[in-house]
Amino acid sequence: MNELFTLPVLLGVLYSGVRLATPYLYAALGEMFAQRSGVVNLGVDGIMLMGAFTAFFIVTNTGSLALGMLGAMVIGLLMGLLMSFVSVNLRAVQGISGIGLYLFGLGFSSLLFKRLLGSTKAIDGFQAIPIPFLSDLPYVGDVFFKHNALVYVAFALVPVAAFVLNRTTLGLKIRAAGMKPEAADSLGVSVAGVRYFCVCLGGVMAGVAGASLSIGLINLFQENMTSGLGFIAVALVYFGGWTPVGVMVGALLFSMVNAFQLWVQVKDILPSSYRDFVVMMPYVLTIVALVFGRRARQPTALSKPFSRGEN
């Protein structure tokens, strides 16, 4: 057991955890904005897959990472618009429309992959950029400052999101739309407009999350490569108590436990028959943390469509 808790192990787990958390973080931050404004979007996984494919396709054909990222954002925006329309204008039941969006994204991304690419081939994704000086710091440098640009941006977005949410008028409007839409409406805030904005933002970020997988983390594309990651990201929003920092902690916790269970296997600590329990760890821990953590404050109007005069 001593072998497990050595410093190189710890550093390795932390490094992997930070890297692996990136797609979760993008997707969950975007979903957090959507949910803060009152809309649950369970289709995140489908948007991620479309974003992953779009970015990969563009990079395979043009070699430009920037264009690929842009493409993913545009696709994410389009799917976000669709979700906004269905949730705000059509006031559909959100849990289910999200699943429809997910199925569509899953199928369509696979279809496009089959017809447009046929097979996959590794591309040169985002390369690691060690931050000068900081990356030379002992221990901390290895863990935090030797990642690629996408990882840095993801974590940089956390304070930005917190600032927008808590210290800007926009943030106030968003929070109002999610907590007390009637009050917001009577004060002249366009609840529909705010929700559109947030769900579209969520879509864009889900697209980026998918791209972070296909052109940042894995550098290949495969059908259904997210394998449910988007759903976990949605759950992380609840786990994080709808705050950017909470979401970040959740993403890191989840990823690090995942990284940790891989280490447990590498170091051969437990007999192989218990592997499946080890794989279960992140999910169980999430629930445990939730139960014993602080009471989260759910946006009161979450998943309730709003229309003037009906409430």
Partner: protein, 336 residues
């Protein structure tokens, strides 16, 4: 009376009308007497770069050798993860009069047992498996099984020879079937060649979780591995990371060189085409089943294919060749 039931009946009526109209065009066009009709049901995508792709590629090459679509009609049902759906597909193809229906997935075995009985004139093939159900009186099922441990051993020898750090990482999906035999053979190949080498094995618990495979490769890399291997369609995750870390990847099930030409050193390729041709020949003569085929280095069903873009030192290749020879003549046992 529930209003919704009315809508059901209207839909059902519409459906029946369509079916009646559809009966004519849905009938298969008259095929020439020589056209062989083969259908395959597989659990993952036909372009997954691994298990399903190996069968798909083999069938495509057999089709080409038999004159293309005119001589060989191929129907594919991929992504059949759920066994009842696969069973429905297998049954349907048999009913439609296909000459050979391939159940490319060990999990389809139970369903195949029941279906084969109902269609004695259709030849079925099942893999990866060794049981042809002969003991249950079923005469129309062929079985095929890759001896993944053989190629695994050979690649293990290669890994031991080319690894500079002496640490090698294995990212397995689930500890079962040919994934397990491959890993076991690989590990033995490494340790027989270089007893001081370290082989770290991780099973992610999923055949499809690509990010977890990537994380596994990350973990191995952090532990010092400079040669990586693994199996299942999720390995694209690990290959991407291997490319990033400039490690060498050794693949199995299909030729993975095209996935990352600067990273993949060699692959164990499952070549099912020989078996497919044999089955078709036997079936044409009236034998619809009963033989359990094995893919092995000896039979040519397993091949070690190098990636030309990566330079492998001559002594490493010589060691691999010696290992292959040893496995073929029986002096080397790939499994512990």
């Amino acid at each position: 009376m529930n209003r919704n039931v009315k809508s059901l009946w209207s839909f059902a009526a519409a459906g029946l009308i369509l079916a009646a109209c559809g009966a004519a065009p849905a009938a298969a066009p008259a095929a020439s007497a020589k056209q062989v009709k083969v259908a395959v049901v597989m659990p993952s995508a036909s372009n997954d770069g691994a298990f399903s792709q190996s069968m798909f590629d083999a069938l495509k090459s057999v089709q080409a050798s038999m004159g293309g679509e005119a001589g060989f009609k191929l129907a594919v049902s991929e992504g059949m993860v759920q066994v009842p759906n696969a069973a429905a597909a297998i049954r349907d193809y048999a009913q439609q009069g296909y000459d050979l229906v391939i159940a490319h997935g060990t999990q389809y075995g139970n369903s195949l047992q029941e279906i084969a009985k109902d269609f004695p004139n259709v030849a079925f093939a099942w893999g990866t498996a060794t049981d042809t159900f002969a003991d249950k009186g079923i005469k129309n099922v062929f079985a095929y099984n890759p001896r993944a441990q053989e190629g695994g051993y050979a690649l293990g020898v290669l890994a031991a020879k080319i690894s500079k750090s002496g640490i090698i990482g294995v990212a397995g999906p689930v500890e079962a079937g040919d994934a397990k035999t491959y890993v076991d053979g690989f590990k033995k190949g490494v340790l027989d060649t270089k007893p001081t080498a370290k082989v770290n094995v991780v099973y992610t618990g999923s055949f499809s979780d690509v990010s977890l495979m990537a994380a596994a490769a990350e973990t191995h890399s952090k532990a010092g591995a400079d040669v990586l291997t693994g199996s299942s369609q999720a390995v694209v995750g690990a290959i991407g990371v291997a490319k990033d870390k400039k490690a060498i990847w050794l693949g199995t099930q299909a030729n993975q060189s095209s996935l990352a030409p600067d990273t993949v050193g060699a692959s164990q390729v499952y070549d099912f085409s020989g078996i497919v041709k044999e089955i078709l020949a036997l079936s044409a003569k009236g034998t619809k089943g009963g033989t359990a085929f094995e893919l092995s280095l000896k039979s040519g069903g397993l091949k070690i294919v190098y990636n030309d873009k990566i330079s492998i030192p001559a002594d490493a290749k010589a060691a691999v060749d010696a290992a292959i020879k040893g496995i073929i003549d029986g002096t080397i046992k790939p499994l512990p």
